[in-house]
Symmetry: C2
Subunit: 246 residues, 2 copies
DNA sequence: GACGGTCCTTGACACAGATCAAGCGGGGAA
DNA sequence: TTCCCCGCTTGATCTGTGTCAAGGACCGTC
């Protein structure tokens, strides 16, 4: 699952994201215990991090890179159900397997915890379960917000919704509240189509249309400049301040 | 949020659903504490239980009846993002407001807890946060499964998916595993359309088509007989045993 | 029993997006 | 440099679902 963080936690080690996902309210000794069960894993672009049928023996956070969660029907139709950006959490404490395929779309570094000891820490450290509950509620809000996008928005609105999210979550732009934003598009047109419930041709046409209408500029095919984020969000049909989605 | 329960908990009071949602692992004294902060609320069919802009001062479970969670855009397009059946949990511990409109579609009885004391119990009783985390993970799975329905399934598959879920969750049929099922349809054609991302006319046409093809029989407009649930699930494009969705 | 209201069904037609098809372009390999 | 490949764009056409419209079924009220 992926999580949008509301606030950074204290420094609890040399992990670049410093366990923000799980330690915002932890005490020093709890952080030290987390340190002991942590390790790093690297994945290459295109590599599958977890298969939906796998038993997952770890939980963790994305440190750098970009990954996706997808579901696939037997006949090959696929739907992306979540994006994983740096600081997002992956894993299902208390669950056996993964429900989705998790795939790296760029090179990815993950900060992981072995699942068993992490679950034990959850029991001994109530903050952690509470923090995970909060994060999971954020996920749920994001998933349901995306249901509105999938069920009721037009192709143009869908693209605008996706770009609004990516613009607001870009590592370099995050939290600066600027209205003029540039971001990297880690997704192919096909991956965008799978997230939006469209075909790649429709995605390509609508991206061209947004460019023609001056809502976006293509610095390259995978780098987007948004001169007026508020206008793009309006195009997406978002209410004034927009939902937070990942 | 709504939750599909995996197992019934112990009896912890006179509430018809016996706090199953929150007390499956609670001790007797914890159950007694829950009893003290519980109360009942009744809603009539069509009544709004919570507005999305409201501050929610309670959490609770549906005891009887049928309710829905919906999101609406300014221009009136609406998307249902969840169904609430008996034993499902409503509320966002640790959060200020509701993110969705919650509406009773039949008469509804809720077993509620005042939010502040419930949150205090969550802190003093780690089982509860862990149980809520499990429930929220179930919700998240259900929401993401529904994203696949919204993004990639045809109108016919969408209707078949909805009927499969309702057939498997009907209070009278639940857990008996029968392949020949009859259930009440608490939703209007319009509400079904809002859940499925369709128009009510398309819903009506596809229901007629499923009837014509012998996959369902209409005992009345709001009561459905499924002679072969496995075949209906196949029509929905579900993998063999189907996901659990609500 | 007639009336009115709500929900539902069905038909005719329109259109957004899918499908099929052709070709472009930029980056890596030799 | 040239070539190739993959991701992307664009055009032409098709089709599933939306839209608009008419009327039917059921139910409660007078």
């Amino acid at each position: 699952m992926n999580v949008q963080l509301k606030s950074a936690g204290p420094n609890c080690g040399d992990c670049p994201i410093r366990h923000r996902a799980v330690c915002a309210r932890c005490e020093a000794d709890e952080l030290a215990a987390l340190e002991k069960i942590k390790y790093y894993r690297n994945f290459e672009a295109g590599q599958t991090i977890v298969w939906s049928s796998d038993r997952m023996d770890f939980v963790g956070s994305v440190v750098s890179g970009f990954a996706t969660l997808t579901q696939t029907m037997e006949d090959g139709r696929t739907q992306m159900v979540g994006l994983l950006l740096p600081s997002d959490f992956v894993g299902r404490p208390g669950r056996e397997g993964s429900a989705y395929d998790v795939t790296a779309t760029t090179d990815v570094v993950m900060c992981c915890f072995h699942k068993k000891p992490f679950e034990q820490m959850m029991i001994s450290t109530p903050h952690i379960a509470q923090r995970l509950l909060e994060m999971t509620l954020d996920e749920l809000d994001a998933a349901r917000e995306w249901m509105l996008v999938l069920g009721r928005k037009t192709a143009r609105e869908k693209i605008a919704s996706l770009f609004s999210i990516l613009a607001r979550r870009d590592p370099k732009e995050i939290a600066n509240g600027a209205n003029d934003v540039t971001f990297d598009l880690a997704l192919t047109r096909e991956a965008m189509a799978d997230y939006l419930g469209l075909t790649l041709e429709t995605v390509s046409r609508q991206v061209s249309a947004l460019k023609r209408d001056g809502l976006i500029e293509l610095i390259s095919k995978r780098r987007i400049h948004v001169p007026d984020l508020a206008r793009l969000m309006e195009e997406a049909g978002d209410d004034s301040d927009g939902g937070h989605i990942a």
